[in-house]
């Protein structure tokens, strides 16, 4: 949180990006179909509310962007400043340390959600304001699998040192695969299979269903069940991978190399 308070510009960017991407996609859509853009959009997505549909995807994407980048970059900074070994030598569990790095992201995530999705809902469909709370809960559950991704990511940084490249690849992969601006049904079947392995796919889909199709957590129990299963699986597997890399790094002395 101190980092964001010190550099408010980067925080503003996270808040502005969902609006900018939505504007960009909508502008391109308007060019392709002119006045009929909204009609074609509604035919493909089942809703004419372009703003809320796109902002939900944007907000979830930004959330994963913030979490992945924060963990990657902060770990790299510790490596460069030579404090990574000291942190890892402290008598606390590694998982606590790594999750601790991401805890501030819950606050950031909440603000992104309120500014992007919250404002879009209030402006375009104020009567459905109540759905926001359930959508927010889905978003929070979706953070747990992301912690698992971060564990793996931490291992990758210890091993390969270059967080920015991996952040760049992971961010765009998430954007393409999870249906940020389109339903995943548009993707080829084999890509849809990969999408099904990513938690954000369910988060985006569920949030859209709750806010735009008047569904609730109970009626979406199938997706919620998968999301909870991923919330348990990702951190467990991710931590296992991290521990393996960490053990190897301890033998080869990788921690202090950068």
């Amino acid at each position: 949180m101190k980092h964001y308070a010190r550099k408010p510009g980067s925080f503003v960017i996270y808040l502005a990006l969902p609006f900018m991407f939505t504007l960009l996609i909508f502008g391109m859509g308007r060019f392709v179909s002119g006045g009929n853009a909204a009609t074609y959009f509604a035919a493909r997505t089942g809703t004419a509310n372009i703003l809320v549909y796109e902002m939900i995807g944007s907000a979830v994407w930004m959330t994963s962007w913030v979490v992945v980048e924060d963990v990657g970059v902060s770990l790299r900074n510790e490596q460069i400043s030579g404090t990574l070994e000291q942190n890892f030598l402290a008598p606390i569990d590694r998982a606590t340390l790594l999750v601790g790095m991401s805890l501030a992201d819950i606050v950031i995530t909440t603000v992104i959600f309120l500014i992007s999705v919250g404002v879009a809902v209030i402006v375009t469909m104020p009567a459905d304001f109540a759905g926001l709370l359930q959508a927010y809960l889905v978003l929070l559950v979706g953070l747990f699998p992301l912690f698992g991704v971060c564990f793996v990511f931490s291992g990758i940084i210890i091993r390969f040192k270059e967080p920015y490249v991996f952040v760049q690849i992971v961010n765009v992969l998430f954007a393409v695969l999870t249906g940020t601006y389109y339903p995943v049904a548009l993707l080829p079947l084999w890509v849809q299979f990969l999408s099904g392995l990513l938690p954000q796919t369910y988060v985006i889909e569920d949030m859209r269903q709750i806010i735009l199709a008047n569904q609730n957590l109970v009626s979406l129990y199938g997706n919620i069940f998968v999301l909870v299963a991923l919330a348990l699986t990702y951190p467990t597997v991710g931590y296992g991978i991290f521990k393996r890399i960490e053990k190897k790094a301890g033998v080869t002395g990788e921690f202090s190399k950068y």
């Binding site: 550099k7 510009g9 980067s10 503003v12 960017i13 502005a16 990006l17 900018m20 504007l23 960009l24 996609i25 909508f26 502008g27 391109m28 859509g29 308007r30 060019f31 392709v32 179909s33 009929n36 853009a37 074609y40 959009f41 493909r44 997505t45 390969f160 270059e162 920015y164 490249v165 991996f166 760049q168 690849i169 765009v172 992969l173 954007a175 393409v176 940020t180 601006y181 389109y182 548009l186 993707l187």
Partner: protein
């Protein structure tokens, strides 16, 4: 009379020789700067890999986003849109060269603590930056070519090119403008701490306002005036006109003249601004301050 002619000829030879020497020197500096940057780049294969994986993915990301709005029964319209976005994608990659390629280079050197060493070297600063631009332009061309092959392989879509020589001319103007803009941006890194924030804002502003991904006439009227005040709007418009025979914002000949003046003005302004900011930073001792 005869001796005065001889000394005049000698003087002329001396002047020519000095010109040749300084040109050779600049050429040598440029080559050294280009090779230095190329070597640094290939030293980190992860970066190369990252760019080659993520660039086509960004293209598909935008293309899929637009698919939601497109009619399914109009094949002709989809093909035109493909070419429009394909060229927009190229303009964006080249623009990112100026913002992250040229501008960011100063910040990278600052972070690595090597900026002072470079500035102490007996070479022109601008040559160093232009050398960097040349390397980034080379890798951009490779990435564009590679993405084109992928798009063609997956979607059987072939980019159109109506008038290649006019396109190259417009591209040249765009690149001259980009170098000027990049120099200005490189200077800003010595002044502004939140460089990433500024570069992101400028980059998105460019994508939304200059007609890179959709024509400026889609933009609502008060904002369209901003678009028309941005030089890049005209470079993009001319390149599209040359490649796809689209209509131009101004009458074509006037727009070419305007774009030429704008390109060289941008280069001049960028050069002057960079030198001025650098001079101020040297006086204040803030060249390495981040």
């Amino acid at each position: 009379m005869g001796s005065s002619n001889v000394s005049r000829k000698r003087l002329a030879l001396q002047v020519n020789s000095q010109n040749t020497n300084s040109l050779t020197k600049i050429g040598g500096e440029f080559k050294a700067a280009f090779l230095k940057d190329l070597r640094s780049y290939v030293r980190y294969p992860a970066w190369l890999l990252g760019e080659f994986i993520s660039t086509p993915l960004w293209f598909f990301f935008f293309a899929l986003g637009v698919t939601l709005f497109s009619p399914t029964n109009l094949k002709k319209s989809t093909l035109d849109s493909f070419n429009f976005f394909y060229f927009g994608f190229i303009f964006i990659i080249l623009f990112s060269t100026a913002v992250w390629g040229i501008g960011q280079s100063i910040r990278n050197e600052q972070q690595a603590g090597t900026l002072e060493q470079f500035f102490l070297a007996p070479v022109n600063r601008v040559t160093l930056i232009v050398g960097r631009w040349a390397r980034v332009f080379l890798t951009d061309v490779l990435i564009i070519g590679y993405t084109t092959v992928i798009v063609y392989t997956l979607g059987n879509e072939r980019p159109a090119m109506h008038n290649p020589s006019l396109f190259l001319f417009s591209l040249g103007l765009y690149e001259i403008g980009l170098i000027g803009f990049g120099l200005f941006f490189a200077g800003l890194t010595m002044r502004i701490k939140s460089y990433n924030t500024l570069s992101n804002m400028v980059f998105f502003g460019y994508m939304i306002l200059t007609g890179a991904l959709f024509p400026v006439d889609v933009i609502p009227i008060p904002f369209r005036y901003i678009s028309l005040a941005i030089p890049f709007t005209y470079f993009i418009d001319l390149m599209r006109n040359a490649a796809l025979s689209t209509s131009t914002i101004l009458p074509a000949s006037i727009e070419y003249l305007t774009a030429t003046i704008l390109a060289f003005s941008m280069l001049l302004i960028g050069f002057v601004a960079f030198n001025k900011i650098e001079e101020q930073a040297r006086v204040k001792g803030t060249i390495s301050a981040m």
